[in-house]
């Protein structure tokens, strides 16, 4: 059922069919994005204006970046409910350093390192103590969320130095968050698909026993994946926390669920073993577009969450049906 076994068992087919088979889900998300742009753009052309598109996509790029790490976690058949709280903590760490006069690069690197370190604890508890990740990260979420408010007292960090505001910078005329999201997605996708290490994650999620049997150090890998995911949360934090002049000690409510949802809509099976980071990033783009589109066609933004709910259910339904069909075909 894993990508690996699919590759091995795949009959020789044309390149187009192969792309459709390997990236069918991702193409579906792309089609949905294009359809949305065309339809809503026809109703209200201002929706597809360069200005709106830029603000929508760069404002939500951090979700795509966080969804990359989450994809890796889910591929290994784990879950992380604490990532929203973690991003809140890392934003405060980074902002505090920035206003305390530390060199800017320290304020940028610190959240990435802290993210990896904090998640190392989570990973150790999951891999070596054997507590299910859903429970460990539920506890971590409480610890991080409560800890953050206790320490900051809910105070905002303001007067951030302008050179700290990474999300406002541009590379060759393109907004930094957009460039980062695309670059990180491409790198992570290539890493997961082409390197033995990346591919081993699919095997761990698909069949941990088999992974152990072929000599993959499963426990150590899981700790490492949690650390990598923490580093991606740190990168996401940089894009999230540097959008405005202030850093609040709260993150958008249910941020972790939004990130998990992006991964799932992007085609990551929650049963582990399959899914790509490209799909997850695209799904984050889709959310952002839907959120903005609702405003442009004059539907109250209050309905946004209902749309996303339907989207999750329909996508997963498609996925489940496709798998069933595949299993049936294999049976004959």
């Amino acid at each position: 059922m894993t990508d690996l076994s699919q590759d091995a068992a795949a009959p020789r087919t044309g390149p187009i069919r192969r792309i459709l088979r390997d990236y069918g889900h991702e193409l579906l998300v792309v089609a949905a994005i294009i359809a949305l742009l065309v339809v809503v753009g026809a109703i209200n052309p201002r929706f597809v204006s360069a200005r709106n598109m830029t603000s929508v996509f760069s404002g939500n790029a951090y979700i795509a970046v966080a969804a990359i790490g989450m994809t890796m976690i889910i591929v290994t058949r784990n879950i992380d409910l604490s990532v929203g709280a973690l991003i809140g903590v890392l934003a405060t760490v980074s902002g505090t350093l920035a206003v305390s006069g530390a060199p800017i690069w320290v304020a940028w690197v610190a959240p990435i390192l802290c993210g990896a370190l904090i998640n190392a604890v989570t990973g150790l508890l999951v891999a070596y103590a054997g507590i299910p990740s859903i429970v460990v990260t539920l506890g971590m979420m409480a610890i991080l969320q409560g800890g953050l408010i206790s320490v900051t007292g809910g105070a905002w960090i303001s007067d951030l130095p302008p050179e700290f505001l990474l999300a406002k910078m541009k590379v060759m005329g393109l907004p930094m968050p957009l460039v980062w999201a695309v670059a990180l997605t491409v790198l992570a996708a290539a890493w997961m698909r082409l390197t033995p290490y990346g591919r081993s994650l699919y095997l761990i999620g698909g069949n941990a026993e088999a992974a152990r049997a072929v000599g993959i150090p499963v426990r150590r890998r899981i700790v490492e994946v949690f650390m990598i995911h923490g580093a991606f949360a740190g990168l996401a934090t940089l894009l999230f926390a540097t959008q405005l002049q202030v850093i609040q000690s709260t993150t958008p409510p249910n941020l972790e669920l939004l990130i998990i949802t992006a991964a799932v809509i992007g085609g990551v099976s929650i049963l582990g073993g399959t899914g790509t980071v490209i799909g997850a990033s695209l799904a984050a783009v889709l959310f952002a577009a839907i959120g903005s589109a609702l405003i442009f066609v004059n539907v109250s933004a209050y309905w946004l969450r209902a749309f996303i709910g339907v989207l999750i259910l329909v996508t997963v339904l498609f996925d489940v049906m496709r798998r069933r069909r595949e299993t049936r075909q294999k049976g004959h």
């Binding site: 879950i79 409910l81 508890l125 103590a129 054997g130 507590i131 299910p132 859903i134 429970v135 460990v136 539920l138 506890g139 971590m140 979420m141 409480a142 610890i143 969320q145 409560g146 800890g147 953050l148 408010i149 206790s150 409510p253 249910n254 669920l257 998990i260 949802t261 799932v264 929650i270 049963l271 109250s300 209050y302 309905w303 946004l304 969450r305 209902a306 749309f307 996303i308 709910g309 339907v310 999750i312 259910l313 997963v316 339904l317 489940v320 049906m321 069933r324």
Partner: protein, 312 residues
């Protein structure tokens, strides 16, 4: 008895210890008035947690309970204030809607084979979105006296909702502990395939569990609205996490097949004792949340490690 219920015994000990320490920190803590008030405050989470014990023991999970609670609260306002239904009828309608929401979860899990985590993550967004869309950030106030008593009044010396909770506790404990149906829940959680081949009504049981979970969330919503005398679409946000914390703390295995109502009750009491006792002792709410996270992980750590040693 002790060997079979190690986790519950450990938990009871921890709870007693917490009560002892906290009662030394504040004289109000062990007062009758305070304890009754805590019972009032914990009822909503507790009602949902009782059913969640069945859900998790059967190997499932229901993340949508908080959203069903929010949707139910909003619909209660809409049915009564918007459509002008008599309040008792509106309450009944809300309970029906909550049950249908739960049943919908059950149907997509059982008949479409969606993993419970994802299915209820989707309906978490869907039901909350419906609540937000229907309410458009409006709230309904001005509830009649008799309705407010459900959340604020007393009956025979106990808060009204505590009677409901006690009845639900007895019912849930009896069903899970002593009936064929309860054993079916464990069997499904231990191995669904084995349960199916043994001729147990797997699908019907799972459908019923999720439906009742929706019902409990709607009931909790009624009590919540009666207690705070207003409706808001964000009611019950994060409820799923409080509930799952209490259930898992109570020793129900997240993989299914194991868990008791006694454990869940102890888990609920421990969380409530910590929250209340620490706030009376002057610790801020956020510090308490940290401690609950630590207690959750530590309890699971101890119980996993002891189990491993017992097996070795």
């Amino acid at each position: 008895m002790l060997r079979r219920h190690t986790h519950e015994a450990v938990l009871a000990l921890v709870t007693l210890l917490a009560i002892l320490v906290l009662s030394l920190q504040s004289d109000q803590f062990l007062s009758v008035a305070n304890l009754l008030n805590q019972g009032r405050l914990m009822t909503e989470v507790a009602l949902v947690a009782l059913v969640m014990t069945f859900v998790i023991a059967s190997g499932g999970i229901d993340l949508s309970v908080g959203s069903i609670m929010g949707l139910s609260a909003i619909l209660l306002g809409t049915f009564w204030d918007g459509f002008g239904l008599p309040l008792p009828l509106a309450m009944l309608a809300v309970l029906v809607v909550g049950t249908v929401c739960g049943l919908f979860n059950g149907i997509i899990i059982v008949h479409f084979g969606m993993p419970p985590l994802i299915a209820t993550l989707g309906t978490l967004a869907l039901y909350r979105g419906l609540a937000e869309g229907i309410s458009q950030a409006r709230s309904v106030r001005g509830w009649p006296e008799w309705f407010a008593r459900l959340g604020q009044g007393d009956w025979l010396g106990l808060p009204v909702q505590v009677w409901i909770l006690l009845a639900a506790l007895a019912l849930a404990g009896a069903i899970l502990g002593f009936t064929r149906w309860g054993r079916t829940v464990y069997a499904i959680g231990a191995s669904e395939t084995a349960a199916r081949f043994s001729g147990l009504p797997v699908d019907a049981t799972k459908l019923a569990i999720y439906a009742v979970s929706g019902f409990a969330s709607a009931l909790a919503a009624l009590i919540f609205v009666a207690r705070v005398s207003t409706t808001r679409s964000d009611m019950g946000t994060g409820l799923e996490l409080d509930v799952i914390t209490a259930v898992v703390l109570g020793g129900t295995s997240i993989f299914g097949g194991r868990g008791t109502i006694l454990g869940t009750a102890l888990g609920l009491i421990l969380v409530q004792v910590l929250e209340n006792g620490l706030s009376l002792a002057g610790v801020k709410g956020d510090g308490t949340i940290v401690l609950i996270g630590v207690v959750l992980i530590a309890t699971l750590l101890v119980s996993t490690l002891t189990e491993r040693r017992a097996r070795a």
